[in-house]
């Protein structure tokens, strides 16, 4: 806030904030991956293997997204009726036609929109970061924080199916059982969560090598001088 002028990055100063405990450490002789003096977690300027792992998780998630939406997630059997299989979408439609429009919208957003938007957004973030694009960095940073925040709400339908299966078990009258679509769906949610946690938003800001080190030298020193006492044994 009070800060003005060019941004200096921790990487340029060779300092790093421990991702686990927040301790600011000057990486002197220690190399990347040295243990944090306070909490022993490895100190890194960036997460490791971001692209290979994120892409692997993301591609698996997008493959499973197909059966998650096409296969039924639950089967309802009632007396004197044919068994009825529900996919995620038909469950939304059922809520809508039953008059719970607000809940239908919530479930639609949590189960269909969020996973899809999350997969597309992460792919966009990975591609732009890999190309070191300078396009809409602030916006990309913000959208990453949003998908991190909303991601786990997609688990909603898993809990709905489990509860309904527990409640509706009247042998002859009616019963509800989960179907394999629920497994694929649960896997999609877990995989997209893992993929977005593996992504490192600092990569959004890593400029092409030529553009780096534009900060005036005295500015860098002013901050670096403060960094030193913070690391080994602070007050």
């Amino acid at each position: 806030m009070a800060e003005s002028g060019p941004i200096v990055t921790a990487t340029e100063l060779n300092i790093v904030a421990c991702s686990a405990c927040g301790q600011v450490v000057k990486l002197g002789a220690e190399r990347e991956g040295a243990p944090c003096p306070r909490c022993a977690a490895p100190l890194r300027h960036r997460k490791r293997n971001v692209y290979s792992r994120s892409w692997a998780l993301l591609i698996s998630a997008s493959i499973l997204y197909v059966p998650a939406n096409l296969l039924p997630i639950m089967r309802t059997r009632t007396i004197g009726g044919a068994p009825r299989d529900d996919t995620i979408l038909s469950g939304v439609v059922e809520l809508w036609t039953a008059g719970s429009i607000d809940l239908a919208i919530i479930v639609f957003v949590a189960s269909i929109v969020v996973p899809l938007v999350k997969i597309a957004t992460l792919a966009m973030l990975l591609i732009t970061a890999q190309r070191r694009s300078s396009w809409a960095r602030r916006g990309r940073a913000r959208i990453y924080r949003i998908i991190e925040f909303v991601g786990h709400w997609s688990m909603l339908d898993i809990f709905v199916v489990a509860l309904m299966a527990a409640l509706v078990r009247f042998q002859t009258l009616a019963d509800i059982t989960p179907r394999p679509g629920a497994v694929a769906f649960g896997a999609v949610v877990v995989l997209t969560m893992l993929a977005s946690r593996r992504f490192d938003p600092r990569l959004i800001w890593d400029a092409a090598p030529a553009a780096a080190s534009a900060a005036p030298i005295d500015e860098v020193h002013a901050v670096a001088a403060d960094a030193a006492p913070a690391s080994p044994d602070q007050a």
Binding site: I15, V107, A141, W153, L163, A166, L167, I204, D226
Partner: protein, 203 residues
């Protein structure tokens, strides 16, 4: 205070001098707008009270049924474990495992670890395995999904309302309260717990 002289934005790596903030004020990164830190002193007593209450509420929420369903003369009630076992019985063990971990085991582990870390700290003692507990606590946070489960209960109730009489029970209020307690508990900055622990051990 154990405040570091500088702060590094976790989201974009920018380095800032760490200004002293007015109480309650949140500092944001000027480059990427991510929250940096808030001037909110950590209150160990409040955290302990929240964790203890959360433990009691978690037990109650699991013991009492969440909803009951009435069809003609038969009545069924569902607890969380009833839902997990029903899903397991019908052959989708992965779904049962997800529900068990995200609604029961991870929240329980979170609360127990908070108690394990906070109780000795409150009285200035050393916590056994502090580092390890704190690392697990941090890793657990995104995977504890009680709040999503509560919304799930609501959706299930509405879906079944057309079919039979559904009545919310004590367990449902338990999970709703647990959501509030865990949200409050997780709103504290774990980095500050590290700072306090370090201060006590060094000084």
């Amino acid at each position: 205070m154990a405040n570091h002289a500088i702060v590094i934005c976790e989201h974009c790596d920018a380095v800032f001098q760490r200004p002293v903030l007015a109480p309650g004020v949140l500092a944001r990164c000027t480059r990427c707008d991510a929250p940096l830190y808030r001037n909110r002193p950590l209150d160990l007593d409040v955290m302990l009270a929240l964790a203890l209450t959360a433990l009691i509420v978690l037990v109650l929420a699991n013991v009492f049924p969440i909803v009951t369903l009435q069809v003609s003369n038969t009545e069924r009630e569902a607890t969380l474990w009833g839902a997990i076992l029903a899903t397991y019985d019908t052959g989708v063990a992965f779904v049962a495992l997800l529900a068990a971990l995200t609604v029961f085991f991870f929240p329980l582990l979170q609360i127990l670890l908070y108690l394990h870390v906070l109780l000795p700290m409150r009285w200035g003692l050393r916590t056994a395995g502090f580092r390890y507990s704190m690392h697990v606590l941090r890793a657990m946070q995104p995977w504890s999904m009680v709040e999503v489960f509560v919304l799930g209960v609501l959706v299930a109730v509405v879906k079944l309302a057309g079919m039979a009489e559904v009545t919310p029970q004590l367990g449902m209020w338990g999970f709703a309260l647990l959501t509030v307690l865990l949200t409050l508990l997780n709103s504290f900055d774990l980095h500050q717990l590290w700072d306090i622990a370090q201060e006590r051990c060094d000084g």
